[in-house]
Amino acid sequence: MTSATHRTIEAVWRIESARIIATVARMVRDVGIAEELAQDTLVVALQQWPASGVPENPGAWLTAAAKNRALDWLRRGRLLQSKHEELGRELAVREEIATADAVEAADAALDDGVGDDLLRLVFIACHPVLSPDARVALTLRLLGGLSTDEIARAFLVPEGTVAQRIVRAKRTLTEARVPFEAPAREELAVRLSSVLEVLYLVFNEGYSATAGQDWMRPQLCEEALRLGRVLAELMPTQPEVWGLVALMEIQASRLRARTGPSGEPILLMEQNRARWDRLLIGRGLAALARAERLGGALGPYALQAAIAACHARATTAQETDWLRILALYDALAQLSPSAVVELNRAVALTMAFGPEAGLSAVDALAAAPALKDYHLLPGVRGDLLARLGRRQEAALEFRKAASLTRNERERKLMLARAGACEAASPSQSQQD
């Protein structure tokens, strides 16, 4: 894939593949088959276009070719299945629908029906019958147009593993007879939260990438954000979709500021805010405003976005509105209680009312089994103790945090802070 034509085909595929797969899936009612038929079309383009030249409207060409393949597949299926009358009749109906569709309009690629198909594809790729790993792989493959190789590199797993995950996921969908439909109203909340979870998981996988790792990993942030924006256009009345988009936009705005020159992490309060991406912050605040305008209580993503927005709005760390952040964490803790949220709430409490208030909140958490091996708990506790001048105790906590974290750079940071406490130098750092 090095010639100019191949690169053009890749670009067209990137833009069109999800829509093509979605359109074909409506015809053949099977996402796995639809993806294969779409892939076949891509292969034809790769074979023909270098010699024949790229057609004037490559997207429409690919769509039409894929639809034709789908029609052939339906006809073949009907011949094979003609003995099984019921199935035959079903396929005949499908073919009728499909033919009508194909005739409909040459520029169907731009009509709104495609949006509906795309949305169905989103919900199926994130279907609860699939394992979380499978949902992620299928989403990136079907909606992101990523190759198995790209997905594998992004998730640091062998390509064969991803290929298998995708094959199995498609088989599971076929066997479970998952219909090519958007969820019914009563299912919508649960199904949508599965979709949002997949996107945020992809985003965080990219966000946790460290310097020097394969460039596909940070690329995951961009892809999750892009898919979030696509979803927001498809479901503009769902506040949590805008909430997630807002959260990802604002978090992504800090990507450039969150690591130092040699890849060491820089905590939120110590980041150079001039390096924050104002464009993404603006987009994030606008998305949050959309979520808020839709009314009702904010959901967990919108609440997290609102917290991120408090930081984004503060020109300097000192100007952070900690009282508002604390109120938002209170709301989040009620909505989706978790020890991690409580820990963050304790940090907000510290920032609003001082280390003593924070320490008693953290001590109350210390017994939570969910936090037993959570390195941030001793990290935060150490920080609070250091602020209170209890440096020996603080050093012990930092050492404990260092032994619990799996991140090498974080481990070094914790050990450095322990050393600093032992040397009895005052500490100014804070936890995020």
Binding site: E10, A11, I15, G115, R226, R256, P261, I266, E270
Partner: protein, 138 residues
């Protein structure tokens, strides 16, 4: 990676103040903008008033000198821009090719420089790391 799609309409360099595109052209462009938005690639876009309503500031000899528009010597001027987030230059070109532009219009596709593109000393200067590092290790 981010790209700017710079719209350069021939004739805009001498357009009188207040020149606006036709309603038809705007309608077609809105549809195009919507397709960028629906694909999740659009970050920002703006249209610019003609240069006759602007000014140029030159710095010969280190002194800012202001010249009001229009600019007699200008052959190509910007009419507007889109900022998109895509995976490759080819993808940016593909999006630009889909623009319902008129005969007199041209789109220049330019990649936005990211910090990784710069050498180390420029990065350090841009990010003010000398200042930050002292804080981070405090």
């Amino acid at each position: 990676m981010r790209f700017m799609m710079l719209m350069i309409p021939k004739g805009y360099e001498s357009a009188p103040p207040g020149t606006m595109p036709s309603a038809d052209a705007v309608a077609a462009m809105m549809k195009y903008n919507e397709s960028l938005q629906k694909a999740g690639v659009l970050l920002a876009l703006d249209g610019l008033h003609p240069p006759s309503m602007g000014a140029r500031i030159t710095f010969a000899g280190g002194k800012p000198q202001v010249t009001d528009g229009p600019f007699a010597e200008a052959k190509e001027v910007l009419g507007g821009y889109w900022m998109i987030q895509v995976k490759s230059k080819e993808e940016a070109i593909e999006w630009a090719s889909r623009c319902p532009a008129a005969d007199n219009e041209m789109i220049e596709v330019r990649q936005v420089a990211e910090m990784e593109d710069f050498p180390e000393d420029v990065k350090a200067a841009a990010e003010g790391f000398t200042d930050l590092q002292s804080k981070a290790s405090g």
